[in-house]
Amino acid sequence: MIVSQLLSNFFSRWLEALMLLIGVFTTTFCIGQEVNKANFILNNQLIEADNLNSYKRVGLTICTASLSNEFIQKTRGGEIEIESIYDIDPHLFFPNAPYQYISNKFDVNQSQTNHLQINNRVLNPSDGNRIFHSVHIIDALNASDVSHEVLGNLLEPFNGTLPPPEVAKRIYNDATFNQKNRYSKRYSGLDKLVVDSLNSCFNNNYILVIGVERVKYLPKAYAKRRRFINRVFNLASIGWIKMEEYDPQRVDWRVGVALSGQAFLYKIETSDATQNAIWEAYMDSDRSSFYDTDLGLTLVQQINFEVSASASDSNERSKRLDEIIQADLVSSVVRRMEGLESNFQVKRTVVESNPVKLEIGNKEGLKANERYLVYEGVSSGPGERYKIVGAVRALKPTANFGNDQGQEMTSKFMQYQGRDVKPGMVVRQFNELGFELELGPKMNLGIGGALPNVSFTYDISNAVNLPGLKLQGSLNSTTSSVKLDPFIGYLVKPDYLTDSDMVLFFAPRQEDINSTWNTGDVNITMSQGINFPLSKVGLVYDRPLSRLGGVRAKLGYTGYDFTAGEEGTIFLYESNTNWQRNYVSKLRTRGIEVGAEAFTFISPSVSLYGGLDKFIGRYWNLDENGIEVEKRPGNSATIFGTFGIRFAF
């Protein structure tokens, strides 16, 4: 009986343990499956395989356009000459685009026809301003036969041997390390790489037309202020001027100017007849049939742009303002087109993981901290599609321009979102503005209650040309006040942090707090003036956890020093006991903030986050005599809980 009872007890406990184990296992398995399904549904970012073909360099021709339908007809020597009523300012319609500013990733065609005059009148119904229309630009491009001019450039250097020089250059730019290594050992042959490259040379050519429609003249005050102030205050206060009213004499190129308009991206479409004519031109050295074929132009993207520049933007005294704005104009338009046009986005296969290494470098226009999405091929039924599994950022771009035979030219990337990245997965360039926005409540778990919390991060590294610099802050609003809490952070990226992200931040803060927490028993109102020194130094460490998204650890030292008198006042009162003391006071805190936050990846731009922050510190008050009195003896801890949704733009 006893044995039986012992056995029963033993099996009962053992069975419980086993059932618990199976339960945990099954639950984990089921949750895993559900998470996978949920990810599949939430991500829903499957794209067709055609959009992730290996990266091919594209040819880009940049033209500028001007509206010039106001003419004066003059008769000189019996011939009628037509002149525009205003002179085209070479500063605005630059004769040669500043190609060096669009990185090295495009093959820029040095087209002879780089300025178009659009003579048709199209008015914007909202403001009556004359605007560009795609149909008229295509007419102008066809009238100048820019398409044949662009493709003809690929035929011209042909010297009778294959591959021709332009194709050989494209092979070098497109090929991966393995392809290049193989190709160099057997250069004379025509293999798949040569044929692909030759076809891609003619099938991947774009014409970018930049048309300025309006202009702003900037006052001298613009030049004296800093860049961000310009954008927010000064620029907004100055009205746009139609191009018809544009007066080059009024523009002081030493001060500043702003331009707006439209940019159009066209792809040169080649037919089978064109392809055959191109091969004939190469094989038989007969180019006549090529110039007889029709080349189509398709509008693939159209955007509005607005750029401005002032003398204060220039770090180099020698650089002229018109050069700056031309560079800004071209680089910003091309960068936005990169986000829209799939063929402009660099795609590569992951060569190595832990850390992630990709055969992308300066040659492909890679910049530090640039974001790439990671895809894994999925076969379901006929065909393949690609599903997003994570995101990586470039650490330090490799200068892969030179002769890299014999050594691998890869750049390291840091994974910051998603599940494990494996060799064979593909990445695609995914430009972002560098702005992150967090929305969600922040709860004081000690006192209770929740405050709406809005936090933002803006990557200002491009603006100030200092990689890694971030501006971060939060906006905590209550019913009675708004607290702005900005701090500046610097991204620390030593080599050993290959798949992590560490931000060292310093926060000289200015606060205007007037917050109330209601717990039923105690109301605490804190009120400070706007000028008191605060300081906060900390370290935020991000490390992604595979399959879960990521986790962010926080560690910081906080020293809040609220000064007395007119600069800071704290009121504390307790309502239920009618205890109310208004006194000029000084609150000083010293403490350590520790916290952790987990976030999961929903889509390239959206993630969910949640976490806990704990403040361990000491508080002192100053009494009426200015003597420090420790408010709560010993260390005290406050725990904050946050969760919400994070958007990345």
Binding site: T26, V378, S379
Partner: protein, 171 residues
């Protein structure tokens, strides 16, 4: 009490069977010699050919092993098809033999076995995959590699073994 104990045994057995079935379900039976092979280029030295080859498996190692087997198998039994850009195809190849594997089953079992010599004809075995496809239904994996295959030595060795006809007869 006896009933309770026997019930426990039954529950344990059922739970173990369930766990076993779940674990077994994670492994997918991979079909042999199902692959896509495409010519990429001639190799740097005579007799070497570069092909793109796929390999299926439950993990990367299995995929890599199967891809290497497939690369050799393709040259022997299937031939290398003309690539999509077939205007110039330097290495389109007829298969080395028209006989099925069953003709010399024991030899091929050993040749493509775990310690078989199929791998001796492939160089740059540790090349990373250039493409990765996961089957949405059974979660199996297909990796694509570029391998350099020494077909001259392969043919010589197989002819010596007498498992493929001489090149002169075939051509």
């Amino acid at each position: 009490m006896r009933t309770t104990t026997s019930n426990h045994f039954i529950i344990i057995a059922i739970a173990a069977a369930m766990a076993s079935s779940v674990l077994q379900g994670c492994k997918v039976q991979i079909p042999l010699y199902e692959y896509d092979a495409e010519c990429i280029s001639l190799g740097s030295s005579s007799g070497l050919q570069v092909i793109s080859i796929s390999g299926m498996g439950n993990n990367e190692d299995e995929c890599r092993t199967n891809a290497q087997k497939n690369a050799v198998h393709a040259f022997i039994f299937k031939g290398i098809k003309v690539s999509q850009n077939g205007r110039f195809n330097p290495c389109a190849r007829e298969r080395m033999t028209r006989e099925p594997m069953s003709e010399h089953q024991s030899f091929w079992d050993e040749f493509f076995g775990p310690s078989g010599s199929y791998g001796d004809y492939i160089t740059q075995k540790m090349n990373p995959p250039y493409k990765r496809i996961r089957n949405a239904e059974d979660k199996s994996l297909t990796l694509f590699f570029e391998y350099h295959v020494d077909i001259r030595t392969l043919r010589q060795d197989l002819e010596r073994e007498g498992v493929i006809p001489s090149a002169n007869i075939l051509n």
